[in-house]
């Protein structure tokens, strides 16, 4: 009987499988409890957290797209204090695996303050620093579209972090490799990519944008090829581990993302249209590996360029 090995390792953190629900599509896990046992997941990347509580943008902040969706939620979250005191301990009651804290800010000082608040939480295994939210002004993506700003946030966060730091990158740039290199040189332990692609929809009857915020982030299977390309480019240029994400929907997508160079994979929009997406992908993974003659996921090598 062929036994498949699903384990992967991120900067010394052992994951029993590479599947991680992506930040912003999983809340703090509670909403998925009626559907499955969270302990089957490799890790959980929890909702993006800022220094202060945020409501986010006005509604409508969701729109349908071909092969995906737009969101302009705008980092709604209860703030670092409530996440540390309430959300993470509550998650710990039902889930004992690694937690990835996802951190956002509107200034270097806010990123640092938020990291200081969460880095010491015993549940937190990795810090994922979001410099790529497309839905907030003055911050978020502004730090992720300029190599110098990305490096500055990376250095500032690294000074106070006691856990591996993964910078989450935006695809809304001309050269993602330049941003990735800047983060790596500034001391990032790893990278997460990609965040959503900036897009819009128009209501033809009303002749107005569908989203109250006009533009929003596009996610879902439609962005998968873009995500693969960027992961492949980045992993060809830096030596630190990359968590790949963007439209991953099936077990075959997971393997394809790892062949692009990712060490682990996040599942985002798929969770929202099918709350059982992660367990279903996990169940299908060994069969797909066997078909391809893959015994251990950690042995998958990045495909070369043609």
């Amino acid at each position: 009987m062929g036994m498949t090995d699903l384990r992967v390792n991120l900067s010394g953190v052992e994951l029993k499988n590479p599947l991680i629900p992506a930040s912003g599509t999983f809340g703090f896990g509670r909403e998925f409890l009626p559907y499955y046992d969270l302990n089957l997941l490799g890790a959980i990347s929890v909702k993006g957290t800022t220094g202060e509580p945020r409501f986010g943008n006005p509604t409508p902040r969701i729109a349908e797209c071909p092969a995906g969706m737009l969101n302009s939620v705008g980092l709604q979250n209860p703030g670092a204090q409530a996440v540390a005191k309430e959300e993470l301990p509550a998650l710990r009651q039902v889930y004992t695996g690694p937690i990835i804290a996802n951190i956002s800010g509107f200034s270097e000082e806010e990123y640092v303050r938020c990291v200081e608040r969460l880095t010491g939480q015993e549940q937190v295994a990795i810090l994922e620093i979001n410099i790529s939210c497309p839905n907030v002004r003055h911050g978020g993506m502004a730090f992720g579209t300029d190599p110098e700003a990305a490096a500055r946030i990376t250095r500032a966060v690294k000074r106070v972090a006691t856990r591996p730091v993964y910078m989450k990158l935006s695809p809304n740039v001309t050269d993602i490799v330049a941003i990735a290199r800047a983060c790596a040189e500034a001391g990032a332990d790893g990278l997460s990519l990609i965040n959503t692609l900036l897009g819009m929809r128009i209501d033809l009857q009303r002749r107005r944008p569908v989203l109250a915020n006009t533009y929003g982030g596009y996610s879902g299977p439609g962005i998968f090829p873009v995500a693969l390309r960027m992961v492949h480019q980045v992993t060809g240029a830096v030596d630190i581990p990359v968590i790949g994400m963007g439209g991953v929907t099936t077990a075959r997508d997971v393997i394809e993302m790892m062949m692009a160079g990712a060490k682990a994979v996040q599942i985002g929009a798929a969770n929202l249209v099918n709350p059982m997406a992660c367990p279903e992908i996990l169940a299908a993974l060994p069969g797909e590996m066997e078909k391809l003659g893959i015994r251990a996921l950690s042995e998958i090598e990045r495909v070369p360029v043609n």
Binding site: R30, F32, F55, I62, P66, M69, V273
Partner: protein, 241 residues
């Protein structure tokens, strides 16, 4: 979860009634909704449950876009994937003995299941339904079959009283308000009836089960997700209260 369509027919030019067979165990209160997965569309469509029994449910929905248009074309025998039993629904225990159920247009369907539940508890609901014109009216016979008083208003006076539902309030004897309909109707009703009651809101949703934060509204009691803490809100914690 898979459900088999047993009936799908037009009630008016744009409103359709679909009956489905499948597990309804997760439906616990009238006013809850289901998320319908449609072939070729990425996001599910949230549709309120009109009424249900142990093995079937009924969705009465309006064609408002391409997704619901595709839903209206589906034939009996076909299967639909639903996430059932979402949202909080109306609290029938907390409402008065003579509640007024106010439905505007396609806000009316969940009030049918609500009416049944109230009658089963020995309460004496009365119904107030508002439409644009007589040709847009639907479900009135279903309510009358339950033996409850039904008052109808239309904007053009082609059926029942001419005007808005709020124009009919003066002649009715009720002790509570349970409502579902367009936002301007809910706001006007809330003002006319002193801010009490339970109101079902609508918002564009991503997931429908509380994960994406797409449908949040700000209220006096903090931010609430229409899909999770709602869609039914008490009069005191509505976004405009």
């Amino acid at each position: 979860m898979n459900y088999e369509i047993t009936e799908n027919r037009a009630l008016t030019a744009s409103v359709h009634s679909m009956r489905l067979r499948g597990d309804t165990g997760s439906l616990t209160r009238p006013g809850q909704f289901v998320q319908v997965a449609l072939p070729d569309f990425y996001l599910r469509r949230p549709i309120s449950v009109c009424e249900w029994d142990r093995e079937s449910l009924r969705l009465v929905y309006k064609v408002v876009g391409q997704g619901t248009a595709a839903m209206a074309e589906m034939k009996p025998g076909a299967c639909l994937d639903l996430l059932p039993g979402l949202g909080n629904g109306f609290d029938t225990g907390a409402c008065g003995e003579k509640p007024l159920l106010v439905g505007g247009g396609v806000g009316l369907p969940p009030l049918l299941g609500l009416c049944r539940a109230l009658l089963a508890q020995g309460k004496k609901p009365l119904v107030l339904a508002g439409f644009g014109t007589a040709a847009e009216a639907f479900l009135l016979e279903d309510f009358r079959a339950l033996g409850v008083p039904v008052t109808v208003t239309t904007m053009d006076g082609s059926l029942g009283l001419r005007g808005l539902v709020t124009d009919a309030l003066g002649d009715l004897d009720y002790d509570d308000v349970l409502a579902c309909g367009p936002l301007p109707m809910l706001k006007a009703l809330w003002r006319c009836t002193g801010g009490r009651g339970q109101y079902s809101l609508e918002e564009r949703m991503g997931c429908g089960f509380g994960a994406c934060m797409g449908c949040s509204v700000q209220t006096a009691a903090g931010s609430m997700r229409v899909c999770k803490e709602g869609p039914v809100f008490r009069g005191e914690v509505l976004p405009w209260a």
